[in-house]
């Protein structure tokens, strides 16, 4: 992606027009990444706003030679990870204290059955397995890119991908057996 480094320098000094240009230029990328982990438009937009606020709060940490789009993608993925963990904690609390609410499924009614099951299985994965899996399979990133983005080693990413696929296979396999 073509990027004017001068924009970051100007944004560091508090130039509002530079900040505006950064938001306009990078919001499609941020939206695309967030929408891999969150489904509703409201969630995606709220998180995208949080990402840009974080970015401008920490923009003085960007080194002049740093790859800004890469840094922004890392902030986005980390924000999604934090939010997914919070959501998961809330879900566990609901399962403990309010089983009738936790039982509500988040599959759109118009979705084909098989897609819905796959989506549910992916949603049930731990965020630390789910994020690398979706980045690999949907965003088509390489293991090296995922490792850089999540601050992990390549081996660690490979292990997480392996575990995610194994868990999905077992979940979907169980579902198949239940249907039979």
């Amino acid at each position: 992606m073509d990027f004017d480094r001068e924009l970051v320098v100007r944004a560091k000094t508090g130039d509002r027009s530079a900040c505006e240009t950064i938001v306009e230029q990078f919001s499609p990328m941020v939206f695309r990444l967030i929408s891999r982990f969150f489904r509703t438009r409201e969630d995606v937009e709220d998180l995208a706003q949080d990402v840009f606020l974080k970015v401008f709060a920490r923009i003085d940490q960007v080194r002049p030679d740093e790859n800004f789009p890469g840094w922004l993608a890392r902030v986005t993925v980390n924000t999604c990870y934090d939010e997914l963990r919070k959501t998961r904690r809330r879900k566990v609390a609901l399962e403990t204290y309010g089983p009738e609410m936790a039982g509500q499924l988040s599959v759109a009614p118009q979705e084909p059955d098989s897609l819905g099951k796959a989506r549910l299985a992916v949603q049930q994965l731990d965020p630390k397995l789910r994020i690398p899996l979706l980045l690999k399979e949907v965003e088509e990133m390489s293991v090296e890119e995922i490792a850089r983005m999540m601050g992990l080693t390549q081996t660690n990413v490979k292990v997480r991908l392996f575990r995610a696929r194994k868990k999905l296979a077992s979940m979907l396999g169980d579902a198949e057996e239940h249907r039979k």
């Binding site: 840009f52 606020l53 989506r119």
Partner: protein, 115 residues
């Protein structure tokens, strides 16, 4: 595993694009945040530890000055009698290096001149 492959393909096609007012909303929140934040958030992060140390030192100095009283230059009795001292007495009793004024010197010399 076909259902997973279909799911990933469907996900690739799903696009959520930012709305027309997204940038305006972010800028409004940024402005609101800047108004809410104090001077602490306006400065770069790297400056904060330096400023924190400087503030701590200033506070320590002020506290030291405030809580630890200075030793009085003279005792209670001297302070009480000070108003009754004439300049001559003051010159005689206080061990001062300040040269006496001409009047004081004259008063001291005068008794010796008298027969």
């Amino acid at each position: 595993m076909n259902q997973l492959r279909d799911f990933f393909e469907a996900e690739k096609k799903r696009i959520v694009a930012p709305g027309p007012f997204f940038t305006a909303r972010v800028m409004a929140r940024l402005k609101q945040q800047a108004a809410e934040n104090g001077i602490w958030d306006m400065m770069p992060r790297s400056m904060r530890p330096v400023l924190a140390v400087a503030l701590a030192l200033i506070l320590c100095f002020v506290a030291f000055e405030f809580f630890i009283p200075q030793l009085p230059q003279r005792g209670v009795v001297e302070s009480f009698l000070e108003s009754e001292e004439s300049p001559t007495e003051s010159f005689l009793y206080n061990d001062t290096d300040v040269p006496a004024r001409q009047v004081v010197l004259q008063q001291l010399i005068a008794p010796e001149d008298q027969p």
